[in-house]
């Protein structure tokens, strides 16, 4: 009875795992087969729904060496923007979080509340004024409009402050007695101690920016400068598109973040856990 139950549990778990994974498997295998095959073997449930009959790399070649839809370029654009945002967010959030966690200054709790209150303001409300602001700065169609407004992560300040507050004061005091400046304490003690937290925030920021769609759609009009998500979306809405090519493009777009995630999954999950339990 007990074993039956366990077996049933594993069967259910496996079925759910298949539902989670199968669209991705289908995407990858579909990208490795000729276009005609996608239709040919779809009339009934069979093995070749997933396994290519004629294995081919040609979709990848078409996607990568295509002048009208230069996918490698979109990936590069997105990596540059997401990478810059991640770097800036880490520095800005760490500095502010350190001040809020360990330094004393007037109005600290008021300012912290001010930052946290920004969490309830949805980005959709400030969409138009932010666009007008970018327009005034002359940043429309430039990466500055994607990078600079993303420099602030209220969630990041919140997350890092939690970590910094857990670092024992005795260590900081000892450094102070040895005559270290505040900046030195920050760089030599706080930052090294908070590496896991920084990886967590970095990973979440990078993935979030890799995924951003609406804001690039609004501020970037130049096709060559476009971000990956917008490019894939517009590629897939073209009439009469070659679907296996779209699957290849999607696979290329997914591979880097999937690999990043599989290696750093522990940190990502830790970040989510903190936002839920302490938040």
């Amino acid at each position: 009875m007990w074993q039956m139950r366990l077996a049933l549990k594993y069967i259910i778990m496996t079925l759910i795992a298949i539902i989670c994974i199968i669209p991705i498997v289908w995407m990858v295998t579909g990208s490795l087969r000729p276009y005609e095959e996608l239709f040919q073997y779809s009339s009934s449930l069979n093995w070749h729904l997933f396994v290519p009959v004629k294995f081919t790399w040609v979709n990848y070649k078409n996607v990568i060496f295509n002048d009208t839809n230069p996918f490698l370029r979109y990936i590069w654009n997105t990596a540059i923007v997401a990478g810059s945002v991640t770097g800036i967010v880490l520095v800005v959030s760490a500095l502010a979080a350190f001040a809020f966690a360990k330094l004393r200054f007037r109005g600290k709790s008021i300012f912290f509340a001010l930052f946290m209150s920004a969490m309830i303001i949805p980005g959709e409300v400030t969409l138009v004024p932010n666009y007008l602001l970018m327009n005034n700065f002359g940043w429309v169609n430039s990466y500055a409009s994607l990078i600079v407004p993303s420099a602030l992560s209220v969630f990041g300040i919140f997350l890092l402050r939690q970590f910094f507050a857990d670092i024992p004061n005795e260590i900081l005091e000892a450094a102070k007695i040895d005559g270290a400046s505040i900046m030195r304490v920050f760089l030599r003690i706080i930052v090294p101690a908070a590496v896991p937290a920084l990886i967590t925030l970095g990973l979440m920021t990078f993935l979030g920016n890799w995924d951003s769609y609406l804001w690039p759609l609004i501020v970037i009009n130049d096709d060559k400068k476009q971000m990956l998500q917008v490019a894939i979306a517009s590629f897939s809405s073209l009439a009469g598109t070659d679907w296996s090519k779209i699957l290849a493009a999607s696979t290329i777009a997914t591979a880097p973040i999937l690999i990043l995630f599989l290696f750093l999954q522990r940190y990502y999950i830790q970040g989510i856990t903190m936002s839920g339990v302490k938040g």
Binding site: I12, G30, L45, A99, A151, L228, S236, L247
Partner: protein, 310 residues
């Protein structure tokens, strides 16, 4: 809070008053440290918020270059704008289905993998993978999966004797296509949060319940659910906010169609402000959305707080 600060020890060492040089220097450094974040907060959040409020009372057209104050006209028109009201209905419909179903699915997943057995780590990773798949990619792949010609979903339906249909081209079912994708993509995220909540419940409680002869169902309703109250509040409120603000999936999967049946509020705001360039009107719609989200969140918070009193 006070024990986490450096200043008292510094000032003690200086033997001076608490507003000595070290403290002043610490305060100056603190200001320098929060300055970049503060500048971004003011420039990209609070200033736009105030500006948005003003724009929502204007007839603001980017293309024509016209802007004029028109009082509450935008809001008044919105209340009679059937397209806006329909988009609001679509968003709320999505939310009403997704909140209970997705929360139940996430909690179920978390309970399935909570106890560390063989392969549970592997299963956790599998359930979480849809979360890291980006919105456009997920929506693109699902668009193909739903396709009547060669999508695998219809093959599965056919093989178990169900009628085949193209979900997305039928106005009655298109929203369900988005709902399925939405849950597929987000359940793993909330599973992780539930998992953390479950791990915080002391095993002693279950032990005691078993000794008293409580069955599994009883343990779930008498221990698990009440002890998860805080986690549940967080998950439900976050899910609600995300659901009402649904847009990304719609852009790629259906583009609001067919026949406007999947046009959500945020999609409508974007369409008004950036397609038709009626920025004042679009922003007013955004404020209505903001108010709705705020009211619902506050109501939910009150509800969960009241429940916590027992």
């Amino acid at each position: 809070m006070a024990r986490t600060e450096l200043a008292p020890t510094i000032s003690k060492r200086r033997k001076g008053n608490p507003f000595g040089r070290a403290l002043r220097q610490e305060e100056r450094t603190a200001w320098l440290f929060i300055l970049p974040a503060l500048a971004a907060l003011l420039l990209f959040v609070f200033y736009p918020m105030v500006k948005a409020f003003l724009i929502s009372f204007q007839n603001y057209n980017m293309v024509g270059g016209t802007r004029s104050f028109n009082g509450i006209d935008n809001y008044r028109t919105l209340m009679n704008d059937s397209e806006f009201l329909a988009s609001l209905r679509h968003s709320l419909f999505f939310a009403v289905i997704v909140i209970p179903v997705q929360t139940a699915v996430s909690l179920g997943l978390a309970m399935l993998i909570q106890r560390a057995r063989r392969f549970t780590g592997l299963f956790r990773t599998a359930y979480f993978i849809p979360v890291v798949i980006s919105t456009s990619v997920a929506a693109t792949v699902f668009k193909l999966i739903y396709s009547k010609d060669f999508g695998i979903l219809n093959q599965v339906l056919k093989s178990i004797g169900l009628p085949i249909t193209n979900f997305l081209s039928n106005p009655d079912t298109a929203m369900y296509g988005i709902i399925i994708l939405g849950i597929w993509k987000a359940a793993g995220f909330f599973m992780i949060i539930f998992l953390a909540g479950l791990n915080n419940i002391s095993q002693d409680l279950y032990e005691a319940a078993r000794v008293d002869g409580a069955g599994r169902a009883q343990q779930f309703f008498r221990i698990t659910l009440p002890m998860l109250n805080r986690t549940m509040a967080f998950v439900v409120i976050m899910t609600t906010i995300d659901a009402i603000k649904l847009a990304g999936l719609v852009f790629v999967l259906t583009n609001g169609g067919p026949n406007g049946s999947t046009q959500t509020v945020v999609y409508y705001i974007w369409k008004m402000a950036f397609q038709q360039m009626q920025m004042g009107y679009g922003t007013a719609a955004a404020f209505v959305l903001f108010a709705i989200v705020l009211i619902i969140s506050l109501a939910q918070m009150t509800y969960f707080n009241k429940k916590a009193d027992y």
